[in-house]
Amino acid sequence: MPRNDKKMKNSQLYKGSLNTIIMKLLEENGKMYGYEITQKVKAITQGELNITEGALYPALHKLEAEGLLDVEIEKVDNRMRKYYKLTEKGTTETVNRLSELEDFIRNMQSLVNPKLEF
């Protein structure tokens, strides 16, 4: 299969997990800005998963509107930068969503490849 076909950026499978991915990164890194999140995901997945700006910002804005993320503004190199961090509610929700995601992965693993243990 050509590498492009394996590109995860357009995969429907990943769209539902985008919010959880963002929350997990914020849980690990404290506070992050938009561009940093896209680059971090790219680095962790060695370029396999590429979050587009068109998908990232609606996801961040939705989490912010739901009260799961808080915003902090800082001046960096002659410009303002908007950082996102988890709220208390967001931290609790991250644990729940990660647990849900792990269950999902485990179940998919059992269905797709029952011989392998997760």
Partner: protein, 223 residues
């Protein structure tokens, strides 16, 4: 390679040239563009400033910045609507429901002092229409904070303005049911509930606006 202050200013104006009026989006999109441009330039120093800008912009997709704005508006509208109705529901639960019921009873009882119920309905919904000035007042108050406009507050205004529709519908329904109302006074009770719901929307709208505005001031360090 770091962008100079002039180049940063240029990018900031470029983002604004797409009719991005909202400070929260201007900050976010400008910073994203600049960080992205600096990284591209680091890897490919032979590119010109405008080429780098174009590459960074292309990452936002076909409708670029405006699409991000559109999506944000939809998300905020939905979320504010949900938050406001959640607050209203609180007034329909114990213990706040006691207050709501008392108000319905009070409004209903007053109606007996009026010979013509249609006049009372006009007064009631006129008051509600008058109270709808509150969202308009809020809009003027928070249209700009320190000269900066926020999409969150603009969207909240369009959510709050819903109480005007309540007044309109109240008068419209009363006109259609006036004969039934004159024959059977009990029919007026649902109108009282409808009116109280309108009042709750005005109160919760004001509360939500103050909450969002104070949060924005805190986040963006504005006074």
């Amino acid at each position: 390679m770091k962008l100079t202050a002039e180049q940063i200013e240029y990018v900031s104006n470029y983002v604004k040239s797409f009719d991005i009026k909202w400070y929260e989006l201007q900050v976010e999109l400008t910073d994203h563009m600049i960080t992205s441009m600096e990284e591209i330039w680091e890897k490919e120093p032979e590119l010109t400033f405008h080429q780098v800008k174009q590459y960074a912009e292309n990452r936002f997709g076909r409708n670029g910045f405006k699409e991000v704005e559109k999506e944000r508006r939809i998300i905020l509208h939905k979320e504010f609507n949900r938050s406001q109705w959640k607050m209203v529901v609180e007034y329909l639960k114990f213990p706040k429901i006691a207050m709501s019921v008392l108000l319905v009873v009070f409004v209903y009882r007053i109606s007996f002092y009026f010979e013509d119920i249609s006049i009372y309905i006009k007064i009631l919904f006129g008051i509600l229409l008058g109270a709808s000035i509150i969202p308009i007042f809020n809009w003027f108050l928070y249209r700009k904070i320190n000269g900066k406009r926020f999409l969150a507050l603009e969207t909240l205004f369009s959510v709050n303005i819903g109480s005007i529709w309540f007044s309109y519908w109240g008068i419209f329904l009363a006109k259609n049911f006036i004969e039934n109302l004159r024959k059977n006074h009990l029919i007026f009770l649902p109108f009282c509930c409808f009116w109280v719901l309108g009042v709750l929307l005005v109160i919760t709208g004001r509360h939500l606006t103050n909450k969002v505005a104070s949060n924005i001031k805190k986040q963006y360090q504005l006074t």
